[in-house]
């Protein structure tokens, strides 16, 4: 096959590209430039990370021996990922931009462009596997459970999965680093990235404050009593305990947690731990990674965080919302996160959590 290898400049995507070449594919390396920082005369100036990452990706492509180009996806990334990130926080949700990037950029804008240019698919360094079976090509968990990234890929449609190649899913991360070193790739020991790539400081709240302002609002208990003030409801996450800035203690000294974020009134509601319990979750805008679901309740697992546990549940699709009823309640579930449904290790699909119930 003719493949585009999306090369971030990290170790995983470099080894993925090398493995794709070794499997006999014709591979072209592409680094995606996702942030723009226009200046008056030279509008190409970018954050230092991008320049260094783009350099690392280029050197990896040199070592592997494949052509290398940089694609400017800054506009698409801003419109599809960054703006969504801001607007989701503005309505009191906690989005996951990595899922959004996979669904809207890497396996949408890049894959579409690659296909139109005569390529068959996109190779990435994600830890996930695919299988060909009676349901066609399906998405599954990686062998290395601690690195499994099937959750952030659960937004891929059948059509997108068809064009996705994940060469690393069968290997443990430590072995990928060893393999990178053996292949002479300079990024073998490059640290993993953790922060959100467009918030290089890692200070999410500060970054959001610059864009959403810092309007003071009340922190209330569930009876509506004012306990304190905050500077922007969006800086809180459901289930958050630390840094609430409440001076009024509870009568029994028990801690308080963020229960609700109400953006319209700019209010944060706090309460006891047991009030965080969630037994049922509802997700909107579902995406199916295989056959469509119906209203028949099935047994499986739901995962609600990138490296969260698979939670045993019963799930079904009621025609508009994806519903998961947990066997055991969990505590503190933010809307805006994705709920990914698994049938054993196969990703069934996902939806954006819009409502939860005790």
């Amino acid at each position: 096959m003719r493949l585009i290898a999306a090369m971030s400049g990290g170790v995983d995507s470099a080894v993925a590209a090398a493995r794709a070449v070794e499997s006999g594919h014709e591979v072209v390396g592409v680094h995606l430039a996702l942030s723009s920082n226009p200046q008056k005369y030279r509008s190409g100036a970018r954050g230092c990370c991008t320049i260094e990452d783009s350099h690392d990706a280029r050197r990896a492509a040199d070592v592997i021996g494949i052509p290398f180009y940089t694609w400017d996806m800054a506009e698409e990334f801003h419109a599809g990922v960054v703006e969504n990130f801001i607007s989701e926080y503005a309505i009191g949700r906690t989005p996951n931009p990595c899922l959004r990037c996979n669904g809207k950029i890497k396996f949408a804008a890049v894959l579409d462009r690659a296909r139109a240019m005569g390529f068959d698919g996109v190779v990435t360094g994600h830890y996930a596997t695919t299988q060909e079976g009676s349901m066609g090509k399906t998405l599954h968990r990686a062998v290395d459970a601690s690195k499994d990234q099937s959750y952030v890929l659960s937004v891929l449609s059948v059509e997108q999965i068809a064009g996705a190649i994940f060469p690393l899913g069968d290997t443990e991360k430590v072995d990928i680093r060893k393999e990178a070193a053996a292949r002479g790739l300079a990024v073998a020991q490059k640290p993993d990235s953790h922060d959100i790539c467009f918030v290089p400081s890692g200070d999410n709240a500060g970054w959001l404050r610059d864009r959403l302002g810092s309007e003071v609002g009340p922190i209330l208990d569930q009876d509506g009593n004012k306990l304190g003030e905050h500077k922007g409801a969006y800086t809180y996450t459901i289930g958050q305990r630390k840094g609430l800035g409440i001076t009024v203690p509870t009568s029994d000294g028990s801690p308080r947690f963020v229960l609700k974020i109400e953006p319209v009134t700019n209010t944060v509601v706090v309460g006891a731990h047991e009030d965080l319990a969630v037994s049922t979750m509802y997700g909107e805008k579902p995406i199916w990674c295989g056959p469509l679901l119906d209203a028949t309740a099935r047994r499986g697992f739901v995962q609600v965080r990138a490296h969260g546990q698979p939670l045993p549940c019963e799930y079904f699709f009621d025609g508009s919302l994806l519903v998961a009823r947990l066997d055991e309640p969990i505590f503190g579930l933010a809307t805006g996160q994705a709920m990914a449904i698994y049938d054993d290790d196969r990703v069934v699909g996902s939806a954006t959590i819009c409502e939860t119930a005790q």
Binding site: Y41, A45, I51, S54, P67, T70, M117
Partner: protein, 386 residues
């Protein structure tokens, strides 16, 4: 078969130059040393300077060797600005289509030295407006430290009316610099006839070595240095002489002027073939700067509905090397400031490619490129998501 159509980026070193560089690399002696070895090296270097001066039509002492065209541009712009500033002149006038080696130092002078930079507009053919120059000088001549306008543009090949600019400026005694990196060796150029204060040249654009540039600076126009040290080159550019590259540069100059007319004619005929082929096979494509005087070897074409980085990738895969203008340090393609200044939109500027032809190209290269282009364009249009 690989087809190289990016000669404006860099062009093959001519064989005689390679030999001259190798020969000089083996010669021991710092040209600044006073002993026999030093004098021998210096002799070759000065001979090279005289050869180049003859073809540039300047005095040998007006040639200052630098490490690149960019360094020569920086030295000229900053140096002439500082020279002017000492006499109360604070304005730098440049065209909107200058190379970044002029644009960026101009910006730097604004940010760090309090300079006022005035950009000269260009029309849809990429030509500056002499009336704007006249107007500007009639009002603000005594504020202007330097005017810098490139001799021919690196992206479109459009040739600017340098002698007219100098004529206007000389009435007011304003210094004029011209970046002639692209035009030297391609079209006739005489430093003394143009009457310029300063001019920039580069070795590797004419078949000479990389890493050698020239600032031609009129006698008596001494400017502050960027590099201080041993006092070489009129104390304007210190640093041990790069004798092998200087000798190589001179050899390339000799070679190019040996065959100047036939090379130019050949390159120009290939350009005409490429342009008429594009017009015939791709009717919605257009050539930028079509009605202006242009260098013989540069074709800048806009292919509506495509993105140039897609075109470049697809052509590269077919063995054709061309260019999309300048990329940023992360390698991202930006819409060309040159095309934007000519009235392009972001979208149409991003749909443009530069093919630059050199003496080593053949009619078959052009025919093969024209054969590949329609299918590449179809693919690129399909891949254009914007």
């Amino acid at each position: 078969m690989a087809i190289y159509l990016d000669h404006a980026a860099t062009t093959p070193m001519v064989e005689a130059c390679t030999q001259a560089v190798i020969r000089q690399l083996k010669v021991l002696g710092n040209p600044s040393s006073l002993h026999t070895f030093g004098r021998a090296a210096r002799k070759e270097l000065e001979r090279a300077r005289e050869i180049i001066a003859r073809h540039v039509d300047c005095h040998p002492s007006e040639i200052i060797f630098t490490g690149s065209g960019t360094e020569a541009d920086n030295t000229a712009l900053k140096g002439l600005f500082w020279r002017g500033k000492a006499h109360g002149r604070n304005v730098v006038v440049i065209s909107a289509i200058e190379h970044h080696a002029i644009l960026d130092p101009a910006q730097w002078l604004t940010d760090h030295e309090g300079a006022e930079v005035i950009l000269l507009d260009v029309d849809s053919n990429g030509l500056i407006n002499l009336n704007q120059v006249r107007e500007l000088l009639s009002h603000r001549a005594d504020e202007i430290a330097v005017i810098s306008v490139m001799s021919a543009n690196n992206e479109t090949g459009v040739i600017q009316p340098i002698s007219e600019i100098v004529e206007i400026a000389s009435d007011y005694g304003v210094a004029v610099h011209s970046d002639a990196v692209q035009s030297f060796g391609k079209v006739p150029l005489s430093f003394s006839k143009l009457g310029l204060t300063a001019m920039t040249l580069s070795g590797h654009k004419i078949g000479g070595p990389l890493g050698i540039g020239i600032l031609v600076l009129r006698k008596g126009f001494d400017i502050p240095a960027l590099l201080h040290g041993g006092g070489q080159e009129r104390d304007i550019r210190s640093g041990t002489f790069n004798a092998p590259s200087i000798v190589g540069f001179a050899t390339a100059v000799e070679e190019i002027f040996l065959d100047f007319v036939s090379h130019s004619l050949k390159v120009a005929s290939l350009r005409v073939a490429l342009e008429s082929g594009i017009a015939a096979k791709m009717p919605d494509a257009y050539i930028n700067g079509l009605s202006a005087d242009r260098l013989p070897g540069i074709v800048n074409a806009t292919f509506p509905g495509t993105e140039s980085d897609t075109l470049l990738l697809l052509l590269d895969a077919e063995g054709v090397a061309c260019s999309t203008g300048s990329a940023c340090s992360a390698g991202v393609q930006r819409p060309s400031h040159v095309l934007l200044a000519m009235g392009h939109t972001d979208v149409s500027a991003r749909s443009s490619l530069r093919f630059s032809i050199g003496p080593s190209n053949t009619a078959e290269d052009i025919a093969q490129t024209l054969k590949l282009l329609p299918a590449v364009l179809t693919r690129a249009r399909a891949a254009n998501l914007r």
